[in-house]
């Protein structure tokens, strides 16, 4: 297990190195950073000075090493637009995105797995058919459309929820501003969280159902029924545990997708998170912010994937990592 984790971390570092190289290329060669820093009306001499200061006159590999050193210190330069450290901008937006993603994940896992088990018990009942039809719609409707439709119905027409923004936030520690602790913040969170969770919920539901249907036909489940265990014990203790393995894999594989769709959701609801920041950075060609976003998100995805692999061992004792 220990050796496995070390190997995975080493692999992760190789990936990060690759990511950093791509980021470096974006940084140096897509748009002239000197020009962007010195401003539109800089004289050629001023441009030259900025180039020297940034080390742009040095050979390629030295430039890359300088970039790496700065990156290790969390220094990705100043945003071209707001003139603030780019990584700081990203981290300021982290709580908003984190709370949104967490809530969405919570909804998706609870209802996805719960309804999946329910449907697998009585696959041909009318309620099951209705849920399956709903899940088909869930995997077929793009996230941005879900969001806009929810806004149209629940914010514009019925006025139950606010259509955009994060509402009232309170500072809990350091710079972490949370919207989970105020009524207003929660009200703002509901529609975006449902939007972000819809697709994942439907995917997890279908996966849980398929897994359960398969497991419920196994001999050991028949044994469990035969020895008179209550339904709850058979379903949740014996069957679900084995049916969950592909579900956990999927949850692990979907982190990247969750982050991608948080960009979409944040755009629709003007949610002040990292994804929203990324999109405006893309339109403003704000390379330092884009690079910071890519680096941060890569770190998060690699870490979460490792976490899921370790979690496996606890769900499925058959797995031994060597």
């Amino acid at each position: 297990m220990g050796a496995y984790i070390v190997r995975r971390i080493a692999q992760g570092l190789v990936v990060l190195l690759l990511v950093s190289f791509i980021c470096f290329v974006i940084f140096q060669y897509m748009g002239d950073p000197a020009w962007a820093l010195a401003g539109r009306y800089a004289t050629p001499e001023q441009l030259e000075m900025v180039r020297k200061k940034l080390g742009l006159d040095k050979p390629f590999y030295i430039q890359y090493l300088i970039f790496l050193r700065n990156a290790l210190h969390g220094n990705f330069g100043m945003s071209f637009v707001s003139r603030l450290p780019a990584m700081q901008l990203i981290l300021e937006r982290l709580p908003a995105t984190f709370e949104l993603a967490l809530m969405a994940m919570l909804i998706a896992v609870t209802f996805g797995v719960g309804l999946g088990v329910l449907v697998s018990v009585a696959p041909n009942s009318p309620a099951s058919r209705l849920i399956m039809a709903g899940s088909l719609l869930g995997i077929s409707i793009p996230t941005f459309l879900t969001g806009i439709l929810l806004i149209m119905v629940f914010a514009v027409d019925l006025r139950w929820f606010p259509p955009f923004g994060r509402g009232e936030v309170v500072r809990i520690f350091g710079n972490w501003r949370s919207g989970l602790l105020t009524w207003d913040g929660l009200k703002h969170l509901i529609l975006p969280a449902i939007t972000l969770s819809t697709y994942q919920l439907a995917v997890l539901l279908r996966l849980t159902r398929a897994g359960m249907m398969e497991v419920l036909g196994e001999e050991y489940i028949k044994t469990a029924w035969a020895k008179g265990l209550p339904q709850r014990a058979v379903l949740f203790k014996h069957a679900l545990r084995n049916a969950l393995i592909p579900v956990v894999t999927m949850i692990g594989l979907q982190f990247g997708e969750l982050i991608a769709f948080s960009i979409v959701t944040e755009t629709v609801f003007q949610w002040p998170g990292m994804g929203n920041l990324l999109l405006s950075a893309i339109f403003e060609s704000d390379q330092p912010v884009i690079v910071s976003y890519i680096t941060f998100v890569s770190l998060v995805i690699l870490f979460l994937n490792l976490l899921v692999d370790i979690l496996y061992v606890f769900i499925n004792p058959k797995i031994r990592y060597v």
Binding site: S140, V156, A260, S285
Partner: protein, 288 residues
């Protein structure tokens, strides 16, 4: 197989929906009341007209018009053309490349396998959507071909993984050893003996992928990193309509939204049927 298909009402429904939209897209220049991207055909006097059955609705704008006086129905038909083109393009490009990678990795194993599958893992964990947003956002170039390539950049992984698994399963079969024993070359064994037997699971992946790509194209165009504004796209229609949500101009969003979702539902119904048809274990359990 056809008999099974006809006995499954949801598969028939899915195929019918799909057929309607494919025909509509193919025949768009003939059946659309207006060419929404021919500037001479547009008139700002026609802008933001509601559907024909509502007060203020006007012929020939069956489903109303958008802010530039474009007929919604016509734009939907042309938008479906783009969606389907992009989806076919990605399935073709990513499918071919992924298939080759999967074959190589599965058949030769060892170092090639390690390289291909590790990079596949990385691409996959970053997700097609995220990679496409970043690549397109940085490229600043737009167009159908760029979009197809940007999506394929990550999308090939689905095919490679599936095919590799199938190849590994097929490789140990007796008939492969037999083919090798009579002296068939590696390439011949791959294409004549391994590939045909590994293809069924790949078909399911392609079907699911087709729907995913249609949604992805719409999403990217909605975000403004997908197609240029000069190209009809369902995602872009909804992005325009979003500005009028508070003005109550629901038809700008609801009709393209229904079209988009219906196509994907159609694709997914067919994909579900295909999956059950190919995996007999599930079929038996459902009592078919």
């Amino acid at each position: 197989m056809l008999r099974h298909f006809l006995r499954d009402p949801s598969a028939v429904a899915g195929a019918t929906i799909l057929l309607i939209f494919v025909l509509g897209a193919l025949l768009a220049p003939v059946i659309a009341p207006q060419n929404p991207y021919d500037l001479e055909a547009l008139s700002l006097a026609d802008s933001l007209k509601p559907p024909i059955w509502m007060e203020g609705g006007e012929s020939p704008f069956l489903l109303g018009t958008d802010e530039q006086g474009r007929d919604i129905l016509s734009t939907i038909l042309y938008g479906c053309r783009t969606s389907l083109t992009v989806a076919f393009g990605v399935v073709l490009v990513a499918g071919t490349f992924g298939m080759l990678m999967g074959l190589l990795a599965g058949f030769y194993g060892g170092f090639i396998d390690a390289i291909v599958m590790r990079s596949a893992d990385v691409f996959y964990s970053f997700s097609t959507t995220l990679m496409a947003i970043l690549v397109l956002g940085l490229l600043k170039q737009k167009g159908v071909l760029v979009l197809i390539l940007a999506i394929s950049l990550t999308d090939w992984v689905r095919y490679a993984r599936t095919l590799r698994g199938a190849v590994l399963a097929v490789k140990e079969e007796d008939y492969i050893s037999a083919a090798r024993a009579v002296g068939a070359s590696g390439v011949r064994v791959i294409f004549r003996h391994v590939l045909p037997n590994a293809i069924p699971p790949l078909l399911v992946v392609a079907a699911v992928d087709f729907g995913v790509v249609i949604m992805l194209e719409a999403t990217l165009s909605f975000l403004g990193v997908g197609l240029p504004v000069t190209q009809p796209s369902l995602g872009m229609m909804i992005s325009i309509g979003r500005k009028y949500v508070y003005a109550g101009k629901w038809w700008l969003i609801v009709f393209p939204g229904i079209a988009l979702t219906s196509i994907v539902v159609g694709v997914n119904l067919v994909a579900d049927w295909l999956r059950e048809e190919i995996n007999p274990r599930i079929r038996r359990r459902l009592g078919r």
